[in-house]
Subunit: 266 residues, 2 copies
């Protein structure tokens, strides 16, 4: 199968222009073949820096939920496959830092970021959805968002719940994640796709996003890395059966060898 | 405080010669100051490749437990601090792949490898000790051995149990661990010391050990890396208070931000 990321730098608050530009970028850069799964960054249509609920409420609404869903379906129409994209979700009067999974006709799944980073805590609620895995005919995909990566339990929960691929929309500002995802893929025997953005926004102080979107295979091999700065649609081949094989060698199995009798109980 | 590793390649089965040579090596290479914690590799006095219980029983006995204890105490006499060393432990008629922690007079702690690697399963029992943290006046140290690193729960359990430093005796033959320990140190906010060996032994097929013993600080900064081949006593400065600070920034705490309500239950 073919899967990958869009590394893209949105204009803060320019929702419709971002949507148009992104669709145009994907159309003009996509391969001829179907893209089975495309992952877009966190808050890709809005940008990131909404320092208070008043400013966030200008982009985050039920109408915007619907707009994002329509956008993702359109991306899927272009790629022929599934789309994961981060967006600020409005639900029951509250804001969540979320990501949705769609195909060209349907909302397949939704995930609300579990571990909020930095000043996000001022505007978003901690996610309530939990780490869920969504099954498609060809692969099982789990979603985590950005800072979730620091906590090994995030990817672990998705992998133990059956994910072959972890779709990971990010807006990275620290220098760690791209290196650490090596461990997340290897320890869980899963593909990981971290779709990052570039550029600088101001949230109290300037936040510069670090690019270098990254894809690892289930043995930690790096399949792609985006530029430090700049936009890129990157699609790689994935032999999804590799994620089903949790045997590191003839006797060691990443999951069956777990000594759950000895682990710290959550 | 000062802590580090001995990267050393023992001669298979030559217990007394290895002990003599290692003590001589440490004496001739140690700094003038006290070494608060020195970590030696897995099975450092015996070598690694004992392909069946008959061959292992020639080195692994109650007498050898005592010999290892005396050796570690002597190392501590030379360094002035604590010593962690891997050894095959004989207990109640069974063999464990273990490591002990001593000072110059006392056995402070013992750990039995929880996750056995490859053909070790033919000769060793899975450890029963669990991941315990041992307190000294100046630091809290947890022990894990080699393949334990693959399972994020190992280091996590030690860190959540209060470890400042993870002492990690290893006999690495896969190419992954040295890179992945970056994540183990960062995600847990702990120092990690992985003490490896070099050389080749034969256990069914040739096993070549990968050197590059490695030390990371609680933010994933590499403090030392040994040579690919060759022996080295490496001691670094550690500001142990860094391990007590689990704040990645003013609002994000590595432990307090855990969403235990959402994690896969062991």
């Amino acid at each position: 199968m073919k899967a990958g990321y869009l590394q893209y730098t949105p204009m803060l608050g320019e929702i419709r222009k971002n949507a148009e530009n992104i669709l145009e970028f994907i159309k003009s850069h996509k391969p001829d073949e179907k893209i089975d799964l495309l992952v877009l960054p966190e808050m890709i249509l809005t940008g990131y820096a909404f320092p208070d609920k008043a400013s966030l409420s200008r982009v985050c609404s039920e109408e915007f939920n619907d707009f994002t869903l329509a956008f993702c379906k359109e991306v899927s129409s272009v790629t022929g496959g599934y789309t994961v994209a981060g967006y600020p979700e409005f639900k029951n009067g509250l804001f969540f830092n979320s990501a949705m999974l769609t195909d060209k006709t349907t909302l397949v799944g939704n995930y609300q970021k579990s571990h909020l980073f930095g000043l996000e805590k001022d505007v978003f609620e901690p996610g309530e959805s939990g780490f869920k895995v969504f099954s498609t005919p060809d692969f099982n995909v789990g979603i985590m968002i950005c800072f979730d990566w620091v906590f090994p339990e995030s990817a672990r929960t998705l992998a133990l719940s059956g994910a072959d691929i972890i779709a990971h929309p990010v807006n990275l500002v620290m220098p760690y994640c791209q290196r650490a995802m090596f461990a997340r893929s290897l320890e869980n025997g899963v593909f990981t796709i971290s779709a990052n953005r570039c550029g600088t926004e101001n949230w109290g102080s300037p936040l510069t996003f670090t690019g270098e979107s990254i894809i690892y295979d289930p043995r930690g091999e790096m399949l792609a890395r985006g530029p430090l700065d700049g936009q890129e649609l990157k699609i790689v081949d994935m032999d999804i059966s590799k994620a089903a094989n949790k045997n590191l060698n003839s006797v060691n199995h990443l999951f069956k060898n777990r000594r759950t009798d000895l682990y710290y109980s959550v």
